[in-house]
């Protein structure tokens, strides 16, 4: 009996068992290599923990936040974006986005875990964090809100994913809404962590929280396309008609969001050029030592090239979209790196014209820092690969196992039960809480 229930749940969840990963041949070896890389990175990180980070990390007193914070931001930005973009479908009921939900929410959790792993190696006393976060909260601190809200966000995501697996769409929708609320709150707080530092002119202002949310959605769109194309390369059956439609819709949204971020970046530069205290940092990025980062990686790979490629792909050409979003993932990483460094490279005492601070500060990631970033990202990648096989590529159930009285929802792709005398359309509307609309042609 228990076994039967177990197998029913497994079927409903699309759980294929670990064996499906082990039996997957070359795929398994790639997974194993990535897993070993992640473990090796963790080992290097732990070595740093025991030697003391100030010996092995490249961060200094003047530049206390380096590539680890950038990578953490990259991960949580992507996670928030995945959650927000997929919520358009399964939370707010826009049908073309529905089929991407399962993979997006799964990846959202995966990236969040990757981000938390990286921050574990950045914070000096990570074990004190949960204790004093609870015992001695500082409600004026954006850092406190960010940590707390991200924890709630992760919990909401896990609940949401559980109900998505269980095909309980009203509950997953509720949890998804909570996820969106916590996600936006947490993420704008992450922006405010930078935006409320009034001693750092480059970051200060409401721009950061706004920019963070919009760029999160852009990253989320890119991540959905990138990982769906990747999943399609792994398993050709992933790209169903519905999925194609979903990807096309996400592609259109991503193009729009790239345009918005281009416009944000443009005005950030233009307004920064006339602000004397921001000018030094801006100049370092447009013509100084960070110019290759900025122009080639951030603007080129992150925005303009994918903008052109995504428009050319028309949301149909998966190879073009895969390339475009792959570039974007690299470009977005540099975007975060630039953002973290830009506020720090100008010394706080630069206006005093003292000898100690008459030039830009320098930061170079150390081997240990890079290893931890690689560990966090490959940990996420390994979890993605695990999910693709073990969770049946996040597909919904096949027709063969549709129970009597149920049907496959053309919207979300899940299984819905019909009430007696109810049409499929009515059942769909009931499940997704869509209002019945009286149209002229329906009366006729």
């Amino acid at each position: 009996m228990i076994k039967k229930i177990k197998s029913e749940t497994a079927e409903r969840w699309g759980y294929m068992g670990i064996q499906s990963l082990i039996d997957s041949g070359n795929y398994f070896y790639v997974f194993a290599v990535i897993g070993v890389v992640a473990l090796a990175g963790f080992a290097v990180g732990l070595h740093g923990t025991f030697t003391g980070y100030h010996h092995v990390y490249g961060v200094t007193r003047q530049v206390p936040w380096g590539v680890l914070i950038s990578a953490y931001i990259f991960c949580v930005v992507t996670s928030t974006g995945l959650c927000l973009v997929s919520s358009i479908g399964h939370v707010f009921g826009y049908e073309p986005y529905m089929p991407i939900a399962k993979r997006a929410v799964f990846l959202s959790i995966v990236f969040m875990l990757g981000g938390f792993t990286i921050i574990f190696f950045d914070v000096e006393n990570p074990f004190r964090m949960p204790i004093y976060n609870a015992l001695s909260p500082n409600f004026t601190s954006n850092m406190w809100w960010m940590g707390t809200l991200y924890t709630l966000y992760l919990l909401a995501l896990i609940v949401e994913y559980f109900f998505l697996l269980d095909q309980n769409h009203s509950m997953s929708r509720l949890a998804g809404l909570l996820g969106v609320i916590f996600g936006v709150a947490a993420h704008s707080n992450l922006g405010a962590v930078f935006g409320m530092l009034h001693g750092r002119e480059f970051w200060y202002g409401p721009y950061m929280p706004i920019y963070f949310i919009v760029s999160a959605m852009m990253s989320g769109g890119a991540a959905i396309i990138f990982f769906s194309c990747l999943a399609w390369k792994i398993d050709r059956t992933v790209l169903t008609r519905r999925m194609e439609r979903g990807i096309k819709a996400v592609c259109q949204l991503t193009i729009l969001l790239i345009a918005i971020i281009l416009f944000f970046t443009f005005w950030k530069i233009i307004s920064g050029i006339v602000a004397p205290e921001k000018y030094i940092a801006i100049k370092a990025f447009i013509s100084g030592p960070y110019a290759p980062h900025f122009w080639i990686a951030e603007v080129g790979l992150g925005l303009i090239v994918p903008f052109v490629l995504l428009i050319r792909s028309e949301g149909i050409n998966t190879n073009l979209m895969f390339a475009a979003t792959g570039f974007m993932m690299v470009g977005i990483f540099f975007m975060r790196y630039d953002l973290v460094l830009a506020g720090q490279i100008v010394p706080v005492f630069h206006a005093m014209h003292v000898e100690e601070y008459n030039s830009l500060l320098h930061y170079m990631p150390s081997f240990h820092e890079i290893a931890v970033v690689v560990a966090g990202l490959s940990f996420s990648a390994a979890l993605f690969m695990l999910g693709e096989k073990v969770l049946n590529a996040h597909k919904f159930q096949k027709h063969a196992i549709v129970p009597p009285g149920a049907f496959i929802c053309p919207g979300c792709g899940g299984i819905h039960y019909k009430k007696e005398g109810e049409s499929e359309e009515d059942a769909l509307r009931r499940h997704h809480r869509m209002r019945k609309v009286d149209r002229e042609d329906e009366h006729a």
Partner: protein, 266 residues
Amino acid sequence: MKLMNINLEKLIPESLDSVSPMERRSFLKMGLVITGVFAGGRIFSVVSNVNEAFASSTDFVEKYPYSPHYSMVIRQGLCIDCEQCLQACKETNSVPDYGYRTRILTKTVSDAIGRQREFIPILCNHCNDAPCTRACPTKATYKNEVNGVVMMNSKKCIGCKMCILACPYEARYYNAERRAIDKCNFCYDTRISKGEKLTACSYVCPTGARIFGDISDPENVVYSMVHQIEKQVWVLRPESGTKPNVFYMKATRSSPWDLRKQAGAR
């Protein structure tokens, strides 16, 4: 033609010498009440601040928020970069070699007449509106409620380094031995709470460039140095609005007369 009846012999000169102490005190008191310049520590120059304070009512401060309100006056021109303060600080507060709680910056003005170099000691400003205490997620750094010193509760520090970024004065660093951020606390735990009157740095300073005291006490030297209009008193990075408690002023060994002699001698 009608002439004004002015007796030049009896006219009182309008220089500062002629202002009676009573008048001066009432002027200062007015300045204190209206602008809160001294208490707020938002001193750029006393005169320019009068206009600035009218813009916002939050700058009205009638008395100092702490008692004793520990402050320091740095007489910039007197520092000779002997670094005895740094040494004393390291020894008193067991500061490791990779960190510092206070530092001396060097400013060179190559086209200046006479002296071309100036040393600027910096340390934690123990701001009234400290950005670090706002940013700390766990209240590991906080304002001492009695004397306003920005202190650390090391066991609560998670090491996120948020406060390092929030500080506009670069006063903080991570101390691996304490497993926490470390910073100047006006030697509160090592000297002041044990009955000493001065911080280690101001105690050893041979030129009197660092003057430590209680700015809320009219008898105190810091009070009398900051509460004056003859000399310009300022704080670092006033645009950050942090209301620091470390004040800077010029005190050169060379008087204007000396400077003129030096210029003439060339």
